[in-house]
């Protein structure tokens, strides 16, 4: 059992705890209860060697610290155990088994890689532990919940699945690219992973319906380091916008190589690393003008968004990766359900989880019958934000929360420059 690391105290601790954790999740403030009995143990499996894993760990720590400061959960202290998911499926599954069998956690919050989680699902089902996924997005996970509810009902997801992501990507294509900019020729670059291929397929099918045309649909391996051929094919296909679908691939190399060869095609899309606040510095500012899909950025998306971002930065020195708030949300959703159920019994907690109505950092969280967070107005949505000078992120889509004007790369005169 890994203790939650002590965090530097600040004079604003009380205020910070409120904004970071989501006070609404626990109703009215109340006096701290005397914590008694065995601690409640939460297990987190995330790729801890990279920023999004470390941010998830930090955010879960903050959220747990907040709950403990208020007397714990059901009057019991909450502790956290961690496992490194790594980028290796076998190691990731072993990490989950370690949490379940050695650390004997009561619930799991975490999981970034869909393939690893799918492989770990039978172990979780056997252990009957409530599990909240904060990153893995393959619809296949929810498909299993739907198809074998009795076995997999313990699994929930507080982030958008790939189907919902593709709907939002298509909305961006329809509304902004085609509707506002008149960019109708789209080139897709998707990594060789299930979630990305799922979205690419839906995007190809949906593009024609919104007046767009997919000129090229490229698949890249996670090990690809030279993107020159791909960039060349996208350019020669006549694409006016390059849509990337990357999470485990080396999107930073694509960014640098796109910039260094001054590819005359505007681009953006889903890129796990480009969601991170430090991405601009990581690629030496070469992501300038890239329109990256995010689950949230520091913008007034919900009343919680800006306070969460500011508080996280106050305590860690940097803005959070998306896994930070999906982890905090995930823990609070679970904790709410336990409070309502007044027990840790997994079946009772599952019944309460299904009634979740929680205002998270990026939108309201409700679960559908597949235990996926719903998507739509007021719920979870993609925010398309453009990297602009000095690493600022300007929200371009949805239009309702647009925070600035779009820019184009310095080597393009306008967004409609032919590819």
């Amino acid at each position: 059992m890994t203790p939650i690391p002590r965090l530097p105290a600040t004079g604003r601790r009380t205020a910070l705890l409120g904004t970071l954790g989501g006070v609404a999740g626990f109703g009215l403030a109340r006096p701290a209860l005397a914590q008694s009995g065995q601690p409640i143990r939460i297990g987190m499996s995330m790729p801890l060697q990279v920023q999004l894993g470390r941010d998830a760990r930090a955010a879960l720590g903050f959220a747990v610290e907040e709950v403990n400061a208020r007397g714990g959960l059901l009057g019991r202290k909450v502790e956290v155990a961690f496992a490194d998911e790594t980028d290796n499926t076998e190691a990731g599954v072993n990490g989950v088994r370690k949490l379940l069998n050695d650390d004997k956690v009561d619930a799991l919050v975490g999981h970034y890689t869909s393939g690893t989680f799918l492989a770990a699902m039978p172990h979780i089902a056997r252990a009957k532990r409530v599990t909240v996924i904060v990153g893995a997005s393959s619809p296949a996970i929810a498909d299993r919940v739907k198809q074998d509810y009795a076995r997999y009902k313990y699994i929930f997801r507080t982030t958008m699945n790939a189907s919902n992501q593709s709907a939002d990507v298509l909305d961006f294509v329809s509304g902004m690219l085609v509707g506002e900019l008149g960019l109708k020729r789209i080139g897709i670059v998707a990594e060789n992973a299930r979630w990305a291929q799922d979205i690419a397929t839906l995007l190809v099918e949906g593009a024609a319906k919104v007046g767009a045309q997919v000129t090229v649909n490229e698949t890249v391996d996670n090990s690809t380091t030279d993107f020159s051929p791909i960039l060349s094919r996208v350019r020669s296909s006549g694409a006016q916008f390059m849509m990337t679908l990357l999470a485990h691939s080396k999107g930073d190399l694509l960014t640098k190589q796109w910039h260094d060869t001054r590819v005359p095609v505007l681009w953006g899309g889903i890129d796990g690393r480009a969601m991170d606040a430090d991405y601009f510095n990581l690629v030496d500012g070469k992501c300038l003008s890239m329109i990256a899909a995010n689950f949230a950025v520091r913008a007034p998306i919900t009343p919680r968004t800006i306070p969460f971002f500011d508080s996280f930065k106050e305590r860690t020195g940097h803005f959070p990766s998306y896994t930070a708030w999906t982890s905090a949300n995930g823990f609070h959703v679970y904790a709410q359900a336990v409070e309502r159920a007044k027990t840790l019994d997994a079946d009772a907690v599952v019944a309460e989880m299904e009634r979740t109505n929680y205002e998270g950092v990026e939108g309201r969280i409700e679960f559908d019958d597949r235990h996926d967070a719903r998507s739509g107005p007021g719920l979870l949505n993609y925010v398309f934000a453009q990297w602009q000078p000095n690493g600022e992120r300007v929200v371009l889509w949805p239009k309702a929360i647009r925070s600035g004007a779009m820019i184009v790369p310095p080597w393009l005169s306008d967004a409609r420059t032919p590819g």
């Binding site: 060697q49 990279v50 690809t224 030279d226 051929p229 094919r233 690629v283």
Partner: protein
């Protein structure tokens, strides 16, 4: 045309990596699995000097090459020399060094990829193909370095000593050539070549703890195809592999380009175990 221009860049990086790897085998008869670690050490040395030390890019890259060369000499003196009599022991110790370097870098710098700034920014059009200026510089510097190495070995007294050791170590020692010093020098040269590839390619690739693995595998494949110990064979194989991979990536899929080197190794070991220009079977 794109295949020719970009294939030449890829080939040049491969050649820099493979020539160093084959050089140490040709002279000291050891397979150095720490070659990828040299590549990683150079990348991080340059990163530290530029980003933490505030050094200008060119001096930092030159210093990184020097640091890595000295690291190579230290590896030879401390770890390889006592075990030189056993090929298996050298294989194991150099593999251990490679793993230790990767783990050390992971602990010190975490798993994140980091960037090196290019020596030259911007793009250049060559034969109608847009190429990043840094890539073109990589091609030119690689050609110059390999040419300089060739001249050094063929024309200098030290080069003659290296050749003598590679042909008959015992006879060379009888005539007063200090074999152990030559081995250390060649390890330093080999490390410097890997380091040069690293600081030239990292601006358009990235610096991360596992960055040495793929170059190590590529170098190994190339020297098997070209013939272990043969510098011309390595250059030829690097060009064959670089152009073929680029052709496949352009005309079929980048997913398939990674399979090429493995398939070529299988074919070479089955049809011509000595490699294209090797004089004898290495395995």
């Amino acid at each position: 045309m794109e295949v020719i221009v970009l294939g030449a860049v890829t080939s040049s990086v491969y050649a820099l990596l493979a020539v160093g790897f084959t050089l140490i085998f040709g002279v000291a008869r050891i397979i150095n699995l720490a070659h990828g670690a040299f590549y990683a050490v150079a990348g991080y040395a340059a990163y530290i000097l530029i980003n933490l030390g505030g050094w200008p890019v060119l001096p930092a890259m030159l210093a990184a090459v020097l640091i890595t060369a000295l690291f190579g000499v230290a590896v030879d003196r401390v770890f390889v020399r006592p075990l030189r009599h056993s090929h298996m022991a050298v294989l194991m110790i150099t593999l251990a060094i490679s793993m230790a370097v990767e783990q050390g870098l992971t602990v010190a710098f975490l798993g994140e990829a980091r960037s090196l700034p290019p020596l030259i920014d911007g793009k250049v059009s060559v034969l109608g193909v847009d190429v990043a200026a840094q890539r073109l510089l990589t091609l030119l510097v690689s050609v110059v370095l390999i040419g300089a190495l060739w001249l050094f070995i063929q024309r200098s007294r030290l080069g003659a000593a290296i050749l003598a050791i590679s042909q008959d170590p015992e006879a060379a020692e009888y005539v007063g050539i200090p074999a152990e010093r030559i081995f250390a020098l060649v390890m330093g040269l080999s490390a410097a070549l890997a380091a040069s590839a690293s600081v030239l390619a990292s601006p358009f690739l990235s610096v991360q703890p596992s960055m040495g693995l793929l170059p190590m595998v590529k170098a190994f494949c190339i020297v098997i195809i070209g013939g272990l110990g043969s510098i011309p064979g390595s250059i030829l194989a690097a060009c064959l592999l670089g152009f073929t991979e680029t052709f496949v990536a352009f005309h079929i899929s980048s997913t398939w380009s990674e399979v090429i080197s493995v398939a070529a190794v299988f074919a070479m070991l089955a049809l011509r175990p000595a490699g294209l220009l090797g004089k004898r079977e290495a395995f």
